[in-house]
């Protein structure tokens, strides 16, 4: 299987700093790079729709961090748009994005991106499985006069 760029950027963006940085460090990679844009903390305004289908409204902001890097070797560019305020996470995400476009792709995909995907799935599955255990079957009581 092969992930498209929007997918890998999504897993990188939503991961926790400790998961992402931990997995990245475990690869032993340490490429030289320069910042095209230094890590910068900002926000995006989340929007929603009235009743989920109606007019769009501004729901509130979310903290995000972004940066862009260029690898010395090969001049590939990576972008690190991530949730939260970690400059480290943003930088590592940008490095992973650039490396995913290089001959290191298989390594980064198998050792980092797929792992992050699994962590996310596990987190979601756990919520679903706990929620499933609280599923109720409400029933309205049958009253005497209805009995035959």
């Amino acid at each position: 299987m092969s992930l498209v760029r929007s997918k890998w950027l999504s897993y990188l963006a939503k991961s926790s700093e400790s998961d992402l940085v931990g997995l990245y460090e475990s690869t032993g990679l340490d490429p030289s790079y320069t910042y095209l844009r230094k890590p910068e903390i900002g926000t995006i305004m989340a929007t929603a729709r009235i009743g989920n289908t109606g007019q769009k409204f501004n729901a509130g902001e979310i903290s995000v961090t972004r940066c862009s890097i260029q690898l010395e070797d090969g001049k590939l560019v990576g972008h690190g748009y991530v949730q939260g305020r970690s400059k480290k996470k943003s930088t590592v995400a940008a490095l992973c994005d650039a490396l995913m476009q290089s001959d290191k792709r298989t390594l980064i995909e198998s050792k980092i991106v797929i792992k992050l995907k699994e962590i996310e799935k596990k987190r979601h599955d756990l919520i679903k499985r706990k929620a499933e255990k609280t599923k109720v079957d409400f029933f309205t009581l049958v009253r005497g006069e209805d009995e035959k």
Binding site: T43, A46, I50, N52, A59, G60, Q83
Partner: protein, 360 residues
């Protein structure tokens, strides 16, 4: 009018140092960590994020710690911090159909596809204090159930299929929906702007407004068509590459109310809707928001207003923001010596004139 005063620096410095000391409290007791607040006071975090209008659990926890648990003070810190950040852009509209739901209930239909999930709720507890928590009792981990898939259609869609509830449709003018963090809130506000104001309003204020509508100040006693709480991804277009990624995952509460509507000169009888959408697990506020949203819609539905506070958008939108409210209410405790001196002089003068007139 407020006239500036000078001086008092030493007293202010010392007051703030004492404040720090009081915040830390008894040194024999372990310092409260931001992680502890984040993981164990999650509903306080939800309130601070919703009313601070910034989704960032770590910052909300820090703010709560710094504010000694005063949530409005914490919200103030978050609002102040937010103004220092550049905004990279707007997320794509969130699709709550895709929610990973912790909780999803309906008070209108008992049998809904996907079922009713109670989630981690206070409902049906007996509200008895649990003294085991005083004794440091350990709590068993909640064992998850079996693997399952979720894809929940909104409950209001079932009424849609019958055509007996109004539908929510996109509007061609939505690009013009103003952002109250960038332009002053102006009245009349469209529904999108009202919802932006309501979702960052004070929970207590909205609760009171919602309660007033149920008790008869603007008749409005709806059913909760659906209430859901869970995780949702937020998509954002990366400008450098021109496509959307899921940049964040946030927890939200969503409430849709179904209101009876007997029709008006312009609209046939049908059910109408109110909408609540709030950051974090904040269902009391999501329900309140939906009630107040519906109450404020009297004009567009051709209803007659009772003149109730909850139907008055100026009243609701201009008084729901707890940071604006606390700023104005609390500023009167700051030195007003010059103003008061002026009033004192005035009253003395009037009294003198009045007494002299009496003596005649």
């Amino acid at each position: 009018m407020y006239v500036a005063v000078k001086g008092g620096e030493r007293a202010i410095d010392n007051a703030h140092r004492w404040l720090e000391d009081e915040r830390r409290g008894d040194r024999k007791v372990t310092d409260l960590s931001v992680d502890q607040i984040k993981t164990q006071l999650s509903l306080s975090i939800a309130k601070v994020m919703a009313e601070g209008s910034l989704f960032d659990p770590e910052l909300a926890s820090l703010a709560i710690k710094q504010a000694r648990g005063d949530l409005i003070e914490a919200i103030f810190l978050i609002r102040a911090y937010r103004t220092t950040l550049p905004r990279f852009g707007f997320g794509q509209p969130i699709n709550t159909d895709k929610m990973i739901a912790k909780r999803r209930i309906s008070a209108t239909f008992k049998d809904i596809p996907g079922g009713q999930l109670l989630g981690p709720t206070f409902d049906y507890t007996h509200r008895l204090l649990d003294f085991k928590l005083l004794a440091d009792g350990s709590i068993d981990e909640f064992e998850p159930g079996k693997d399952t898939e979720q894809m929940f259609q909104h409950v209001t869609q079932f009424l849609n299929n019958e055509g007996i509830i109004e539908t929510e449709e996109t509007s061609s003018s939505e690009a013009e929906s103003p952002d109250l963090t960038r332009q002053p809130l102006e009245i009349p506000a469209n529904r999108a702007l009202r919802l932006q104001a309501l979702t960052r309003s004070d929970e207590g204020f909205l609760l009171g407004m919602a309660y007033s509508t149920q008790r008869g100040f603007g008749r409005n006693h709806p059913f909760v068509g659906e209430l859901r709480i869970g995780l949702i991804s937020v998509e954002f277009e990366i400008p450098e590459i021109g496509f959307n990624i899921e940049i964040a995952e946030i927890e939200i509460s969503e409430c849709e109310t179904v209101n009876q509507f007997l029709g008006s000169k312009t609209h046939p009888p049908k059910f109408t809707r109110g909408y609540g959408f709030v950051f974090g697990q904040s269902e009391r506020k999501a329900i309140s928001m939906a009630l107040v949203d519906r109450a404020l819609r009297w004009k567009e539905l051709g209803e007659v207003s009772d003149g109730a506070p909850a139907q008055d958008e100026e009243f609701v939108l201009y008084h729901g923001d707890n940071i604006q409210a606390t700023g104005f209410v609390e500023h009167i405790k700051l030195p007003h010596y010059v103003d008061f001196q002026a009033e004192l002089e005035l009253i003395r003068k009037i009294r003198k004139t009045a007494f002299e007139a009496k003596k005649g």
